[in-house]
């Protein structure tokens, strides 16, 4: 509950309400783009610096493998459900499923904030896991889409390159590496921008996310009730799977929750861009609405505290 009273969440709600009330409040596109680039760089640096001081651990290996597998396999489950219960055609089901296999950086960041406030900060290497989970789901998604509408039109390898070189992934990974190189001391001079300012700027970004989410919801023609249900069911299912695996491989509560949120979250940066290219026939309005307008708010408001509780329970269980 007190999660809801953090400024970050409150600004998200403010954005949602403003859009809901049809206020003309808008965050300039460049600002949101800037903020999302900033968050990528900041979180990347943070992770790198943490690794630099704590070093690599076996846990990273476990969590990394778990993350990779989740990103590869979750889309298959989602695809099946989207086809059957969701009543979507192959292409759209494949496109949507890829989003749920991949991750939402901002959901992760928000979880990170909340957990840190509770003194359960996840391990720094989870940011590496975050980066690892971005793309495999895209490959699974394309594999599920089978038929090569555009694939005929351009080689798969080409697309894979484009996906791996997606701007935000490059910035995230690059900053992560820079963080490892510069370490705690090298980070100090830039900390005022990338650390001290973080929470405040995150508020502005979530204000925008609130606006975007509700506006997307309003303009999403092809969103059926069944799909709305799945937009909530997927994070629950995937989050649970994430929590179980996290606890199973022996991660601490914070880190387990983080893994759960990675599994539960749906991408709305790297994957949509990739799907637009690889499966242009798929309805962008649909997958963006599901990941951005339904799953994201659910995770930020309900998912984080929920999976944190479950994680606490699970971790006890296993130890």
């Amino acid at each position: 509950m007190e999660n809801l009273l953090s400024p970050v969440i409150l600004f998200f709600i403010l954005g949602g309400l403003a859009a809901f009330a049809r206020s003309d409040l808008t965050i300039p596109e460049t600002l949101s783009k800037t903020l999302s680039l900033y968050l990528m760089a900041a979180i990347g640096l943070k992770g790198g610096v943490l690794i630099a001081s704590n070093g690599f651990t076996l846990d990273l290996l476990f969590a990394g493998t778990a993350g990779l597998l989740l990103s590869f396999l979750l889309p298959i489950l989602a695809f099946a459900i989207l086809r059957s219960f969701g009543k979507l055609d192959t292409v759209n089901a494949a496109a949507v499923s890829a989003h749920y296999g991949s991750v939402s950086v901002v959901t992760f960041i928000t979880a990170n904030q909340v957990l840190s406030d509770k003194g359960m900060a996840p391990a720094g290497y989870m940011i590496a896991v975050l980066a690892l989970m971005e793309t495999p789901a895209i490959i699974s998604g394309l594999f599920l889409a089978k038929r090569g509408s555009t694939l005929s039109f351009q080689p798969n390898s080409d697309l894979l390159r484009e996906t791996l070189l997606n701007g935000s992934i490059v910035l995230l990974t690059g900053s992560f590496i820079i963080g490892i190189i510069i370490g705690k001391d090298g980070f100090e001079p830039i900390a005022p921008v990338f650390e001290t300012g973080f929470t405040g700027l995150l508020c502005l970004f979530l204000l925008d996310m609130g606006l975007l989410a509700v506006r997307r919801l309003r303009n999403a023609r092809s969103l059926t009730l069944r799909l709305v249900i799945l937009g909530i069911a997927f994070p629950i299912i995937n989050g649970l799977i994430g929590t179980i695996i996290g606890a199973a491989v022996g991660l601490d509560v914070g880190t387990t929750t983080a893994l759960a949120m990675l599994a539960a979250s749906a991408s709305y940066i790297a994957v949509p861009a990739a799907m637009r290219l690889a499966l242009p026939k798929a309805d962008a309005g649909l997958y963006l609405a599901m990941s951005l307008a339904i799953t994201f708010p659910f995770n930020v408001i309900i998912g984080i505290p929920l999976f944190n509780q479950i994680a606490i329970y699970m971790v006890q269980l296993w130890s």
């Binding site: 596109e29 460049t30 949101s32 783009k33 999302s36 509408s149 555009t150 039109f153 351009q154 484009e162 997606n166 701007g167 935000s168 925008d208 996310m209 975007l212 506006r215 303009n219 999403a220 023609r221 092809s222 709305y268 940066i269 790297a270 949509p272 861009a273 990739a274 799907m275 637009r276 290219l277 242009p280 026939k281 309805d283 962008a284 309005g285 963006l288 951005l292």
Partner: protein
């Protein structure tokens, strides 16, 4: 008195991420050039959209404009025709007068 010559002007409204595909085609048919403009929003059969760069531009569109001669225009249109539905392109062709016609 400035002399002008008629040329074709092809305008294509396309999703930002697909621009790189379209560019490839301009290379294939060897267009003399093109210019791109940013669209900030619109509405159509699939609903309303606003420029939205958070989502990797998946939700935003740009306007591609190229001035070319009759033959190139035919060639270019034939090249993009198959992508029309798949990419959801909005294509218009019109005639404009240009100075220094030779460059197109």
């Amino acid at each position: 008195m400035v002399v002008t010559t008629p040329r074709k002007k092809i305008e294509i409204l396309i999703d930002r991420p697909l621009m790189k595909r379209l560019r490839q085609i301009t290379k294939d048919v060897e267009l003399s050039g093109y210019t791109v403009f940013d669209a900030i929003g619109g509405e159509g059969g699939q609903g309303r959209w606003r420029d939205d760069q958070v989502t990797g531009g998946a939700g935003s569109k740009v306007l591609f404009i190229s001035i070319l001669n009759e033959e190139k225009a035919k060639e270019f249109l034939t090249a993009i025709e198959p992508l029309l539905d798949e990419y959801g392109l909005l294509v218009t062709v019109s005639t404009v007068e240009v100075i220094r016609a030779d460059r197109f």
